[in-house]
Symmetry: C2
Subunit: 326 residues, 2 copies
């Protein structure tokens, strides 16, 4: 037992075969059965583990994938990180996680580190496009960054429509769409578009209040107070662009004496849960988080990336969570 980690050369010697043969065995290349067995036994005896850094140096394959997320404190991002990790592990890859905390400088720094790390590819959910102009395989989640960058996203438009149709089905006659988020145009805008389209299609009156991140949150309160001029809320169905917003709106309504779901029904978007598999924050349009992660990994590691689709749109679903009358 040598003190140092065994190398392929050690295995070759132990098995009485050539170096190249050992390499072939570990790469699944065709090798005579006799040799394969000898090598495998020798490797087990020595406790051999391939050195990924030597492999990466020579072959360019590192089996590492960089994942760039704005944060992991939001349940949606957390779930995404978890599923990405699992999906990558299933395919023998590892996840190099960069948390940018929505800081553009940090994002830029990440790009540098990603570049010098020679990862096999990048999966990112970032607010501004990375300057990785085609140097590295890149898959974006939930953000369409350009025509040549594949993007996998939930069907936000369809989700918005689904929310409207559900509220209408549940008896609502006057709806509203509330939104927070980044000012720059993003995938999530489509949630509102789908919602408004469905309202028009069903001839249901609706209001929309779209706030950007910096703007004063109290404008929502003002909105509600306007709509309570008659003593009680003249809106009976609300679609919020995220579950988090729905949660805060629910609190706001409670303070105004409006009951949910008796007086007004509320649907959010994301399908986040408090912890493991526990309660939803609200009735909601659920993003297929696991599917998103798996699709992103599939797209990134696909053998032939030349004919990859520019946008993969995954179906969402509705889940009641106590803020609707079911």
């Amino acid at each position: 037992m040598k003190g140092t980690t065994p190398t392929m050369k050690d295995v070759a010697q132990e098995a009485g075969v050539a170096l190249g043969t050992v390499s072939k065995v570990f790469n699944g290349l065709p090798v005579g059965e006799r040799y394969r067995v000898k090598v495998e036994e020798a490797a087990k005896r020595l406790g051999y583990q391939v050195n990924q850094y030597a492999r990466g140096l020579r072959s360019g394959k590192t089996y590492n994938v960089a994942v760039i997320l704005p944060g992991v404190d939001h349940p949606f991002f957390a779930a995404l990180a978890q599923h990405l990790c699992a999906a990558l592990m299933r395919r023998e890859h590892r996840m190099l996680l960069y948390v940018t905390a929505s800081n553009p400088d940090a994002e830029r720094e990440c790009v540098g580190m990603v570049r010098q790390n020679k990862v096999d590819g990048v999966i990112g959910l970032t607010y501004n496009p990375l300057e990785l102009d085609g140097e590295l395989p890149f898959v974006s989640i939930d953000r369409c960054l350009g025509p040549d960058i594949p993007c996998v996203a939930a069907d936000n438009y369809g989700g918005g429509r689904m929310a409207a149709e559900k509220l209408i089905e549940l008896g609502c006659t006057r709806l509203a769409f509330l939104r927070t988020g980044s000012a720059s145009p993003s995938e999530t805008d489509k949630r509102g578009d789908g919602f408004e389209m469905a309202c028009r299609a069903h001839n249901i009156p609706y209001d929309a209040l779209r706030l950007n991140d910096g703007e004063d949150f109290r404008r929502f309160r003002a909105f509600f107070q306007e709509h309570m001029a008659a003593g009680r809320l003249d809106i009976d169905g609300i679609f919020c662009s995220t579950d988090l917003l729905a949660w805060r709106v629910r609190g706001m309504l409670a303070k105004l004496g409006v009951r949910v779901p008796e007086d007004v029904q509320l649907i959010g978007f994301d399908g986040i849960r408090r912890f493991g598999a526990e309660e939803l924050y609200c009735s909601t349009i659920v993003q297929p988080t696991q599917k998103l992660a798996e699709t992103a990994v599939d797209l990134l590691l696909a053998k032939d990336r030349s004919n990859a689709p520019a946008l993969v749109c995954l179906p969402v679903s509705y889940a009641p969570g106590g803020t609707t009358r079911e």
Copy 2:
């Protein structure tokens, strides 16, 4: 402009110096000023980036650290992951994140991947000790795994005592300690120990109900019903082993018609917040999450690990969060 990424050899040629000189410049080793400038300019011209895999192969330093967490869906773990990432980046390291989802098999699998990846070290918060017997620098967070494995944890004992003293200071006369968690002895047990010690020291009566993860949650409800025999709760201060538990207990109390904090005051442990820097779940003992992460990184990357402390205990603090009468 060649199509391939530039190497040190290219930089050396461009700068008109030797290969070794370029290497020294990038490793901060002493080099004549004239040469350093020439190399730096050439590198900038070519857009040179060191190849971490070649470096790792030759020097053994990979500048990668594996982080093993049971999950990132819990806000405490999420915060930890985020701070670990930032602390590692600050020291030019990258975070290889393995999420085990509390699955012992996954943990084992991680160990294998960690081993073959030749990371510089491991920071882990795992439920059962990893079989890494001293092969690799290892720092444990919040779990004392053995005498030779450095562990950084919050002052759980002191936190329990602090909770008791706070409740007493706020006028409570009869206390309770409620706990959930893994059956195996863990750091968190100390929270209860500290709490009970303080109760005895102040001559305050208390009850303790310690449930393990599998056990029926409704035993908490039974506990409360017993203590409401007289029509109203005979306990006026509760310490829960985690904020999450406190949250659920609060919901349970609401259903039983007990008001928080009017009838009973509630203190949790962790200091988790709903999202970014928003509200606490409850009045709580706050873990110094960022400090935990930074200390773990410091400990792991310390030049001289031979005289590292076996346990670093970081101070906690109290924060009111609406479930106490302040």
